[in-house]
Subunit: 439 residues, 2 copies
């Protein structure tokens, strides 16, 4: 453990130094790094190396699936294909073409003659990213980190370890060929390394934790480093009495069924008196889509075929084709239920009544608040942010899908000619505070 | 404890509801609240009430000072005067006139026909602020919170409890007169209430902790709520060999002596071979100002009158007229020392050589990086940010002095016409992602 700890600290310090050189390079240099990574992942030899490593991971995953120790969905998520690699190359190309966010003068202010303050954007420094067994996350996350001048220590799911190692090897080789220190991207080997990472609060600037809510909370409780990760996604769909029944049905099915394990899927359907036609349409469509429905007493009075919901249901993220259904007392009841049980991720209303929609959008405290649209749109790609490192249910720094913006901070740079603070104050010199335009 | 806990939870929930009404009011309404608070604090009856309460706090403080249980500096900080109240009224007036940051559309993007995404700024929600025994902080902090549509639970130092209670009573009365719920500002009574506050991670959105580094770390280790606070301020002044001796002396004295307890005061002076004239000038001026100097071996070889510094000195925030002095191996040595021992607060170089200054400004990872200016300028008022709630040594969300910007977050609002995510993708509809200009 001490040896692991020293090793990870050494990796983190090397990563910081390597990242600093990328941060101090020019925007076009960072763009070139991304394009070179995309080029490399498009080459036949790189693909052969990556797909061979991936085939071994998948073979092992298939064997575990047959034994019953790994779910089919997780094996599917492991698989890399030429098509997936093409998609990754496209994504890296788009990221390369995004505006460079490093070294931007965000504010310039003359505090006094010859005393000029600038707020300048800069990378966070070293990111530690712990993520699920999905190898396509490696170039995505590394791409986001390098585009913003950050270094990154990666720990992916064990099931994808060979694929991850091959991908990281290619990334590091590309950095080397581009004249940068490959230490800016490094792979951590095991859980002991993650434990060591979480203790490095002087060396690591941000932990990004992807995975289950329980996993994210586990990470948050074990580190003094800021953690970006959604603890859970407990999203609601609220049917107002003005809801169009076919729209309610379409949105409910998409929001629950298009990817039930996603954090932006809904777990509870709320309806109010007057919304019965929309409720009936939604329940029928959900049932046809194979969703297990659990209702409150008031819902079951009209729909006795629903299983009874227990109070626990309101705070359960099923991550599966299960949905709880509750009658609420109009808009205020919906807002109160969401305030109490929601995870501040994404909440949606179906309503033709514009006043009700506006009131809902104004009142709900969540990263995303939607009117007549599926909660499944809460996603960096769909928002047009380019790639995302995750979706934050926290309110500070980044909220909702986190793209390159979330990996940037700033420093205050002050240039003077020997000025001292005690020369200023009542009866002494006064500050000018002349803000200059920046572009 | 359970009773306290329930009480504080009730206060926090009431604060959230009260704050939401202020957040949903208009910018001019929030401006009016600030102006009304300033007006009230300018009235003779309000001042009489506040100053009478303050006199009792000061009397008790003086008695404790005579007994030796309270430092003179802390008693001085307790005192409110007509002049201080005038200053507070001015500050509130300036805050009233700052641009309103709530409800700004920061980004507007048509994802597809009739599917419009907006990123809209909003308050964090409920702030919990724990601060030192300085009653002028009450209207400052409450002003910042209300200007940005946040509610605030305040717990100030026990020594100022009567002053704080009087000030909060006036603030709440002003809210009531303005037609808002006074619950948006509430005072916590004791440490048990602070403990309860730290446990309310669903009700409280941000903890602002002001006080000693040890206190801030104590708070950080006891809550799942994000904490904004500087754990410590361990700042350096580095004398490059091109440093002007008189400038080095002036800046060193200001940075160490103008307020030794401040987090932006320096603790260590670094110098490199060639900087001896600047070092001599600085040491002489510091000695005349009564500073106890502790040197490394290399420094003491030329200045044997300095006490020997122990390795602990490099990581000690003295908060007093003590300064450690160390010779470093040029710029790289200075950067390495700062990287290892600095608290990422504010770092300064004295140099006539523009290349060295630029290299220092580019390389140092700290909230503030200064050239030929005192570290004491690191302050929201001096930066022209208006009032500040504190100085953050964290990198996320807010870095350096935190003003109104740091109390704002955003939500993603999506308005559609029944669109669902599964209609989009390869072979299906494509997103348009047309970003519209916002002003």
């Amino acid at each position: 453990m001490t040896e692991t700890s020293d090793h990870v600290r050494t990796l983190a310090r090397a990563a910081k130094a390597a990242g600093a050189r990328i941060a101090q390079a020019s925007g076009p240099d960072r763009r070139s790094i991304l394009l070179a990574i995309a080029d490399d992942l498009g080459r036949a030899d790189a693909r052969a190396q990556i797909l061979a490593a991936n085939a071994e991971d998948v073979e092992e995953g298939e064997a575990r699936c047959r034994e019953g120790t790994l779910a089919r969905a997780l094996v599917d998520r492991l698989v890399l294909t030429e098509q997936k690699l093409d998609g990754l190359c496209d994504g890296l190309g788009q990221l390369a073409d995004q505006a460079d966010l490093v070294g931007q003068v965000e504010l310039e202010r003359e505090l006094d003659d010859g005393l000029v303050l600038r707020r300048v954007s800069c990378p966070l420094g070293v990111l530690g990213v712990v993520f699920e067994a999905r190898p396509d996350a490696v170039p995505q996350i590394a791409g986001l980190a390098l585009r913003t001048g950050n270094a990154v220590l990666l720990k992916g799911g064990h099931e994808a370890r060979r694929s991850n190692a091959a991908l990281v090897e290619r990334l590091r080789e590309t950095l080397r060929v581009q004249g940068f220190d490959p230490g800016a991207v490094a792979l951590l080997e095991d859980r002991a390394a993650v434990d060591a990472l979480l203790g490095l609060d002087r060396e690591v600037d941000l932990i990004i934790a992807r995975g289950s809510g329980a996993f994210v909370r586990h990470v948050q409780s074990r580190t003094a480093i800021p953690v970006l990760g959604h603890a859970e996604g407990l999203c609601h769909l609220y049917l107002h009495h003005s809801a169009s029944p076919p729209m309610a049905a379409r949105i409910a099915v998409d929001a629950k069924c298009s990817y039930p394990a996603a954090c932006n899927a809904i777990e509870t359907l709320l309806w109010e008196p007057g919304a019965e036609p929309a409720l009936v349409a939604a329940l029928e469509a959900l049932r046809r889509a194979g969703v297990e429905l659990r209702g409150c007493e008031a819902t079951r009075a009209a729909h006795p075929e629903l299983a009874p919901a227990s109070p626990d249901d309101w705070s359960t993220e099923y991550g599966a084709l299960v949905l709880s259904v509750r009658r609420v007392d109009h808009l205020d009841g919906a807002l109160a239920h969401i305030e109490r049980y929601g995870s501040r991720h994404t909440e949606a209303i179906v309503a033709d009544d514009e006043m009700a929609a506006s009131a809902f959008l104004a009142a709900v405290d969540a990263g995303g608040v939607f009117h007549n649209a599926s909660t499944r749109f809460a996603d960096g790609y769909r928002y047009g942010l380019g790639a995302e490192v995750g979706i934050s249910t926290g309110k500070l720094h980044a909220r909702g899908p986190v793209g390159v913006d979330g990996l940037i901070t700033h420093r205050w740079l002050l240039r003077g000619q020997g000025q001292v603070a005690s020369d200023y104050g009542p009866g002494k010199r006064a500050f000018r505070h002349r803000t200059r335009p920046v572009d």
